[in-house]
């Protein structure tokens, strides 16, 4: 028998390994023993003890007063939409009263325990992890009894249906994960298109006034929605899709010196005399990108500082966004109003599965 095949005996804390070279420190961490007991001031001097008792009492009395003041504050500052000052005072004093009412009980109890209750150090031996033989035998006895009484082993049908139920139980959770995957044609269609269509007039958010090209002076910024997107239907009912559609169709309209724009081939006609319209929805996680700097032509997203260069087709120049902001091709109609040439030519906003 070669040495390597020998099974080492478990270290019992008493004996060295047979034939081994390892030197085993039988007591690697010395027991520091009990700390010397330090007598407290409250144990030495009755004056201190009295003082500590008074402090604890004072804390409990303070708690009572605080709780009472919380009740007073509730009635003294009735909530009213006419007085924001009352709302503020109500919240503040009610909160402070309840907070001190609870905090003073806690602090008082701890202070009591620390200063007045016995503080002698005590050591308790840690018990064995393994239960004693009697306890183990008793446990098995209980399990057997439970099995016998419930008939778990005997009633096969019940047992198997229970297994089946337990196996099926987590499946709905897994099904929910499917939402992280492809969204299906209907949702996909919704994400790819906005309320903009050929001839939609550009209108001011939120009142829907259409914008003429001549209104937009160099350096101007307009926050834009499609004019035909209405909050209320013709019959006066609320348009339930209004907010969803507005969230996708929000556009920032800016006029710059036309020589500052560098459109790529095929996109020269998307602007009108230096007026450009870009989706306001960040391609990172969809915050509204609207912090426009007039001279640098930078558009900054306030959420994660993605920066887009408007003079360069809103290419990303900084930050976590990975795609340029989609541009809305615009032109003017016969009356001089700015209109969309079409919908956006790509989906707006952050990425999704099929994109």
């Amino acid at each position: 028998m070669s040495k390597s095949k020998e099974v080492a005996k478990p270290f019992d804390g008493e004996h060295d390994y047979e034939g081994g070279l390892a030197v085993i420190d039988k007591n690697p961490v010395a027991d520091p023993g009990m700390e010397p007991h330090r007598v407290r001031m409250t144990d030495k001097s009755p004056a201190h003890e009295k003082a500590a008792a008074r402090q604890v009492t004072a804390l409990f009395v303070f708690s009572m007063i605080s709780s009472f003041l919380a009740i007073v504050a509730y009635f003294a500052f009735p909530l009213s939409h006419l007085s924001l000052g009352n709302v503020r005072a109500n919240t503040l004093f009610l909160g402070l009263g309840i907070a001190f009412g609870m905090l003073a009980i806690g602090i008082g109890a701890v202070h009591w325990a620390k200063t007045l209750m016995p503080d002698a150090e005590v050591s308790e031996a840690r018990h064995q992890t393994r239960g004693s033989e009697e306890v183990r035998a008793r446990a098995i006895e209980i399990i057997n009894l439970a099995n016998q009484e419930s008939g778990f082993s005997r009633r096969k049908l019940i047992r198997r249906t229970l297994y089946g139920a337990l196996a099926l139980f987590p499946i709905p959770g897994i099904i929910l994960f499917a939402d992280l995957g492809p969204l299906g044609a209907e949702v996909d269609e919704k994400l790819r298109h906005t309320a903009w269509k050929k001839g939609s007039r550009l209108a001011k958010d939120p009142y829907g006034t259409p914008i003429k090209a001549s209104d937009v002076t160099v350096g101007s910024v307009f926050h834009v929605i499609p004019e035909d997107l209405k909050e209320y239907n013709a019959d006066g009912s609320l348009n339930s899709e209004y907010l969803n559609e507005k969230a996708k169709a929000a556009v920032l309209l800016v006029r710059v010196d036309p020589t500052d724009l560098n459109p790529s081939k095929g996109r020269e006609s998307w602007a009108y005399d230096g007026i450009v319209a870009y989706s306001k929805i960040c391609t990172h996680v969809g915050c509204p990108v609207a912090l426009y700097e007039q001279h640098t032509h930078h558009l900054l997203c306030p959420c994660h500082q993605s920066t887009f260069d408007l003079s360069n087709e809103c290419a990303v120049v900084f930050g976590p966004a990975s795609r340029a902001l989609p541009q809305l091709p615009i032109t003017v109609d016969a009356e001089g109003y700015l209109v969309a040439q079409s919908d956006f030519n790509e989906p707006v906003g952050p990425s999704f599965w099929e994109r």
């Binding site: 330090r38 924001l84 701890v110 620390k114 937009v216 101007s220 609207a290 001279h295 900054l300």
Partner: protein, 264 residues
């Protein structure tokens, strides 16, 4: 017959082209002036010749080194022809001009000129070419619709200036200034002229009424206490988070140490 020939003669005369061009210029110029009048219909300020003269002298002494002797602009600073009295009143009236040092952004500092001198400078610059004028007093009262003003402010301004006008950071050292304590006139002028990197909000975008509503909203939030208690400069999650980390977590740490410490 004679009449007809004279008509023909006029059409063919060498002056015909000049006449046509003249007529065209009159119409388009008139149209432009009309459009421009709409843009700046909010105010009509008449400055005296003496003010313009005074402004010209002040300009030569204080501004010409950067903006050029005739406000035509240099490499160091832009032309001021056509910026209007509103721009001068804002830049000089808030102490941003004369600029202290070049950098990412000119900062607001102590105002360098008296009100009369600022007005004289505005008179001179607005005499160079028409531009946005100092707003009429009637748009500066805070009696506007604060609800409407708040809505317009949140859509057009809050992304940079914060929902209650506390200001905020922009790129590369630039920032949107706090609007607390800023005169109504200067808020109006800033919207009208778009100083530095701020975009322009002309009267077709935000009408004088819109601007008055926005000013009313800003003054309302400035003069009314926050219902939520201490505002922590209204800077939002960063200031609030920092406060929570330092004072709330700090308090919890102190209590934990006290709990574990032995009594003396």
């Amino acid at each position: 017959m004679a009449k007809q020939s004279s008509k023909k003669n006029l059409r063919r005369s060498p002056f015909a082209a000049v006449l046509v061009i003249l007529a065209g210029l009159l119409i388009s110029g008139g149209g432009y002036a009309a459009a421009n009048a709409v843009v700046n219909a909010n105010s009509h300020v008449d400055y005296t010749a003496a003010q313009q003269e005074e402004g010209k002298r002040l300009f030569a002494a204080n501004c010409a080194s950067c903006h050029g002797k005739n406000a035509e602009g240099t490499k160091a600073a832009p032309s001021l022809i056509g910026v209007g009295s509103a721009s001068v009143d804002f830049q000089v009236g808030t102490g941003r001009m004369p600029g202290q040092a070049s950098g990412p952004q000119l900062i607001k500092k102590e105002v360098q000129f008296t009100a009369a001198q600022t007005e004289a400078l505005a008179a001179y610059v607005s005499s160079l070419a028409p531009g946005p004028n100092v707003p009429d007093e009637k748009w500066l009262s805070t009696s506007g619709n604060t609800t409407r003003g708040g809505e317009l402010f949140r859509i057009n301004c809050a992304m940079c200036h914060n929902a209650v006008g506390a200001g905020g950071a922009l790129t590369e050292g630039k920032f949107a200034a706090s609007l607390k304590g800023v005169e109504a006139k200067h808020i109006y002028e800033a919207m009208l002229t778009g100083p530095q990197n701020m975009p322009v909000f002309n009267d077709n975008n935000l009408t004088p009424q819109d601007k008055q509503d926005i000013i009313s909203y800003l003054k309302y939030v400035e003069n009314n206490p926050s219902a939520g208690g201490e505002e922590l400069a209204n800077l939002g999650p960063v200031a609030e988070g920092l406060f929570a980390w330092i004072f709330m977590l700090g308090g919890i740490v102190v209590i934990t140490i006290w709990l574990g410490a032995k009594s003396n």
